[in-house]
């Protein structure tokens, strides 16, 4: 376990933000930590949608249950937090 700073680039928001997470956090938990600073403050919640995490510029999302420490991100590296409609 170790505190780990990331830079959140949250879909629909206007600014990058510093977010403190933990290397043990899953990507869903990372997305929730980022959402805390954007959703309901400047970005409307999207009921029924989930949030996915990817490296800035990447097409593929990290697996939802992947732990942050396994993602190979550098401290303060920017991740994009993207809304995803449920897949049927």
């Amino acid at each position: 376990m170790a505190l780990f700073p990331i830079t959140s680039n949250f879909e629909g928001d206007f600014v990058l933000q510093l977010v403190a997470v933990d290397t043990e956090n899953t990507m869903d938990e990372v997305a929730a930590a980022a959402a805390h600073h954007s959703v309901g403050r400047r970005v409307r919640a999207r009921p029924g949608q989930i949030l996915r995490v990817r490296r800035q510029g990447a097409e593929e999302f990290f697996p939802r249950s992947m732990r942050l420490g396994e993602a190979g991100l550098k401290p303060t590296e920017t991740v994009e937090i993207i809304w995803q409609a449920p897949q049927h």
Partner: protein, 501 residues
């Protein structure tokens, strides 16, 4: 005794170069300070200043200018203009004085560097007068706000701002340190006088004086006009230096300095002037949008200045032209949302009528910036104030030191421009900011942004209270909504009407 006309003796009197016998030319004019670009003294003797003024003329004119500005101040001191001014206008004054007043004193030392170390005699004369100008500007812009300090603690930031680690001041210091405090004499003439003053401040002061008159603040209008007349003279110091450099095969180096300084000036304008023009100024007093002002006064004027000089437009001109319709909306939202961290009270400027104006001036505003404001407005109207404030820091750019931002909502395009240098990950707000850093990485690499300082444990405790203490923002100085959220009543009334129908 008959006096000679100025032009009968001016050129001779200011031809003050000589051939040193006891020291070398490099000892007399150390290249680090002089920035001679490998050119000998005689190349710089061709420097021909377009605005020639002698010391007696200068003193006479300046005395009249001071008498004018100070007498208007004295006459209006009991007029209660400050007490009765729109809170948005007071915020304009506070932001302006804090960001500018002490910077003027710093500029006096930059002018003094040109005065002592430039190899061009004409530049030495011009910057002697320029140095006195900047001392005058520093003194006036500290003296004029002083009468309001007892009425409003935020006015104390006219003096205090430059001594603090408030984030906007870190950004201002980083920029002014880069273009005027740590450059050689010739680079100062290009980056401070030609790029910043000709390109931006000269016109900005004209616009600000007009806004002040419109707001009924004639003391401030006179002060700013008085300063602007000095700016329009000493801003011309850089032009002839550029000419000498271009004629001697140094265009690329000259162009690079212009490109770096113009970009930094633009970023500072986007956070200071953009919000003032498009959000703080009461709707009935707005003459032009910030974008229109930039296009008419800055872009057109500066494009002409560059091409007249034989320089190219900066390589990023297309990016700049796009940014003048976007960046300042984000800078406004940032300084509003993080309002406890500024020394003035930002005016939200988002009533339905103001939003209609923004949509007209910036088509698509409601689908982008408006989407974020919808959420902020709902929280304010609902009294859900905890959500109308931040709980973390925005990430700031390692070049301009301002938040890294873009367009939100339906045209979301926010992006980081990272760079790894010597094992450290740097973040930039644009391709241009990153390019500026890459021109001379060692110049900037050691600087810590406010976020870097936070992560390094320099801000304790690591919360808003700790951050405010680090930024020297005492209670009573922290910013809050300029109108104490009175604008939210319009939205409450709209809701009530909707509910009733």
């Amino acid at each position: 005794m008959a006096l000679l006309n100025r032009m009968d003796w001016y050129d001779l009197a200011r031809t003050t170069n000589w051939s040193p016998k006891y020291v070398t030319e490099d000892e007399l004019f150390p290249p680090l300070m002089s920035g001679a670009f490998g050119l000998p003294q005689n190349a710089w003797e061709k420097y021909d200043e377009p605005y020639k003024q002698t010391y007696p003329e200068y003193v006479k004119v300046q005395r009249d200018k001071d008498a004018g500005a100070y007498s208007v101040k004295a006459a209006l001191e009991r007029s209660r203009i400050f007490e009765n001014a729109d809170p948005g206008w007071k915020s304009v004054m506070k932001a302006h004085y804090g960001a500018i007043a002490r910077g003027e004193y710093a500029a006096a030392s930059a002018e003094a560097r040109m005065m002592r170390f430039s190899k061009a005699p004409g530049m030495r004369n011009m910057s002697t007068l320029g140095c006195l100008d900047e001392v005058r500007h520093g003194q006036m812009q500290l003296y004029f706000p002083h009468e309001h300090v007892s009425k409003d603690r935020q006015m104390d930031w006219a003096f205090k701002a430059y001594d603090t680690n408030e984030w906007g001041m870190i950004a201002a210091r980083h920029f002014f340190d880069d273009i005027m405090m740590t450059r050689d004499a010739i680079s100062v003439s290009i980056m401070l006088t030609f790029s910043f003053e000709t390109g931006f401040t000269n016109m900005q002061f004209l616009g600000l004086a007009a806004d002040a008159a419109e707001a009924g603040d004639h003391t401030f209008a006179n002060l700013i006009s008085s300063i602007q007349t000095d700016e329009s003279r000493h801003a011309q110091i850089g032009g002839p230096a550029l000419k000498v450099l271009i004629e001697n095969g140094q265009k690329a180096e000259a162009q690079k300095r212009v490109d770096i300084a113009v970009w930094g000036a633009w970023k500072l304008f986007s956070v200071l002037t953009g919000p003032i023009m498009d959000y703080y100024t009461p709707l009935e007093h707005r003459k032009q949008s910030f974008k229109e002002f930039m296009e008419e006064w800055i872009v057109a004027q500066f494009e002409r200045a560059l091409t007249d000089m034989g320089l190219d437009l900066p390589w990023y001109w297309d990016i700049f032209l796009k940014d003048i319709a976007e960046t300042h909306h984000g800078m406004h939202m940032g300084s509003y949302f993080w309002r406890p961290t500024v020394w003035w009270n930002p005016a939200a400027g988002v009533t339905p009528d103001e939003r209609a104006w923004l949509e007209e001036k910036y088509p698509g505003w409601n689908d982008t910036w408006g989407q974020c404001w919808d959420v902020i407005i709902d929280n304010v109207v609902d009294g859900n104030m905890a959500m109308a404030y931040p709980e973390t820091l925005p990430y700031v750019c390692n070049m301009c030191q301002l938040p890294i931002l873009g367009t939100p909502g339906k045209k979301w395009n926010v992006k980081d421009y990272p760079l790894e240098y010597n094992g450290r990950l740097y973040h930039f707000g644009s391709e241009v900011d990153r390019w500026c850093f890459e021109q001379e990485p060692e110049r900037y690499a050691g600087h810590l942004s406010i976020v870097d300082r936070f992560l390094a444990g320099m801000i304790q405790p690591m919360d808003l209270g700790g951050a405010l203490a680090y930024m020297n923002l005492a209670p009573g100085e922290c910013g809050d909504d300029a109108h104490n959220y009175a604008w939210a009543e319009v939205y409450r009334a709209l809701r009530a009407t909707k509910k009733a129908s």
